[in-house]
Chain length 336, copies 2
């Protein structure tokens, strides 16, 4: 059972989820340390489906056979649909609300240790499709204001189970950092009539110093003001506020550029820990002009310390154009 | 040589300091792994003063003998006084400015491995006094908008050299997170006529569920909406916007409560990695009514992952009242 509490000094709602203390860690240290295709004790491996909460969704082989991608509720959820969103103020005037939301796990494939980019683009496309299906379905619950889609790779990126997976968290409030980005982009739109992210994408493509990969529909670049070394964005080359709106024929080029970028990072940086997130709009803004959904890949090569935690200001020791040049020279084979 | 670049999606200025890639790591893994009082290769140990940049300030034994606390410029600074603060916009409209600022290191004592709380309160008082002296002196440079004071303890908290030290970074802009706190507190003051932090302190003392220690002038508590397990604040029991204004007779009680809190954390959590920062006002607001300076101690017990990095929302698995109860039961000897 979870609860949200309001930090009045910043406006953040903090999720308290004591039951997540109980979640297992399978003891892996790096993904490379466990290269098995099947792990008998892994709850995400085929044959162990009974170890997980009930299946929410799955993509199966034609004819309804074995699953390819499987979606389950997180066994140790940060937020749950059973809670409500009523705000409460206690006798000392502290503000809280129920831990209403949803927390799902998308198991990438039946393979225990295959890195995302090692799958063919056709399978990555299936994963991305499942993410969109779940995102759209979760947004049918009007209590949810945003869906945060993310993937953790490696222990240093906070993952506890090695079997590759993604997560979706539906939140009952718009998280403050996302809200700040929406407000900034809205003000930019009000002032200029343009989508800030489309403008930044076009500037990056014009500067051409930090672009890592392009195809007809997407571009990958390391942004001018990257907060951390090798931070990489994948951005649509067309305007679209929400990933929920992405049409199916654009999933293959997205899968291809995601695969190309991840292979570069995997090879060039020796399989770094990273987080991947999709920045998106809140409920109701899916057709707006101010925002462009995009993927952020955040390698965990440096440890934020007191300066960063105290001030919120990042210190980055690698210029993104240097990182882009380095990655540009990394040769990648289509399969590893 | 550093440069700041503007992240237009959030308003953050990001510090780019490529030379910090060259800074040494002395290879320690936990503080306990190196219990020497003197390390021949450590640049912060007595006898090795020639290995550091020139001394900026020192507190010495009576009669001008050996130093007790020593302040030096950071050899690998994030920001330097030689840069200027002029904003530049390049031909692609990206915004940057010079890496103007200052970055100093305060060596806590001559002892290579003594934990801060193992010093007598009288010595901690000397350290705090040196921090205030440097803070005040740095603010004489009108280009600096804030001074961020912090301490990293342990590799997981991002420290690279084991010899205990603090750091001060003077920044040429107010970091966005601090600015957001100032704006929130200013709006609260405009609306209510009260200092938000004084109100929160009084609520925490009235609730009495999360208070860890008190003395006549300070209180330590784990805030209602803690962002991470065992986050602990030390807050003055009187109104004062800036640590620069703290009178000398209040340094001893501050040293005493800081020592008591750190001993609890050290003993109860087996010497955890942590960051410690002082939240303060920007230049010119030192006498204002809207803000109360305070110390935040942030144990690094959990790894923020994709959800936190993507949304900015924290998931905390420990309720602060449970953490406070746990720490309240931890017996601590005055010396370890």
């Amino acid at each position: 059972m979870s609860v949200l509490r309001l930090d009045e000094t910043t406006g953040d709602w903090v999720v308290f989820a004591p039951s997540r203390r109980l979640r297992p860690h399978d003891g892996h240290t790096t993904p490379a340390a466990d290269a098995r295709s099947l792990a008998p004790e892994c709850p995400f491996c085929p044959g162990n489906e009974a170890l997980t909460p009930p299946e929410i969704h799955a993509v199966r082989d034609r004819g309804g056979g074995a699953w390819q991608v499987r979606v389950i509720a997180n066994k140790f959820p940060a937020l749950t649909i059973e809670e409500d969103t009523a705000r409460e103020r206690d006798e000392h005037e502290f503000n809280s609300m129920g831990g209403c939301g949803a927390h799902e796990v998308i198991v990438e494939s039946t393979h225990h240790s295959l890195f995302l980019a090692q799958h063919p683009a056709s399978h990555i496309e299936v994963i991305l499709g499942a993410l969109q299906d779940r995102y759209r379905d979760l947004m049918r619950d009007f209590r949810f204001q945003t869906v945060v889609i993310f993937k953790n790779h490696g222990v240093d990126a906070g993952t506890s189970l090695a079997h590759p997976h993604w997560q979706l968290v539906a939140t009952p409030v718009v998280p403050r950092l996302l809200r700040a980005k929406h407000v900034t982009a809205t003000e930019y739109f009000d002032r200029t009539g343009h989508c800030l992210y489309c403008v930044l994408r076009d500037r990056e493509m014009a500067a051409a110093e930090r672009v890592l990969a392009t195809n007809e529909h997407f571009v990958a670049f390391l942004p001018f003001a990257s907060h951390m070394p090798f931070e990489t964005w994948i951005v649509p080359r067309f305007h679209q506020a929400s990933f929920t709106q992405l049409r199916r024929e654009r999933f293959r080029p997205l899968a291809e550029i995601l695969k190309a970028v991840l292979l570069k990072l995997y090879t060039g940086l020796d399989n770094p820990a990273f987080n991947l997130t999709i920045d998106d709009v809140p409920r109701g803004d899916e057709d707006k002009e101010y925002f462009l959904w995009h993927i952020r890949i955040l390698p965990r090569l440096a440890t934020p310390a007191g300066f960063e935690l105290g001030s919120g200001m990042s210190i980055n020791t690698v210029l993104p154009e240097d990182a882009a040049e380095f990655l540009g020279r990394v040769p990648v084979a289509d399969s590893l």
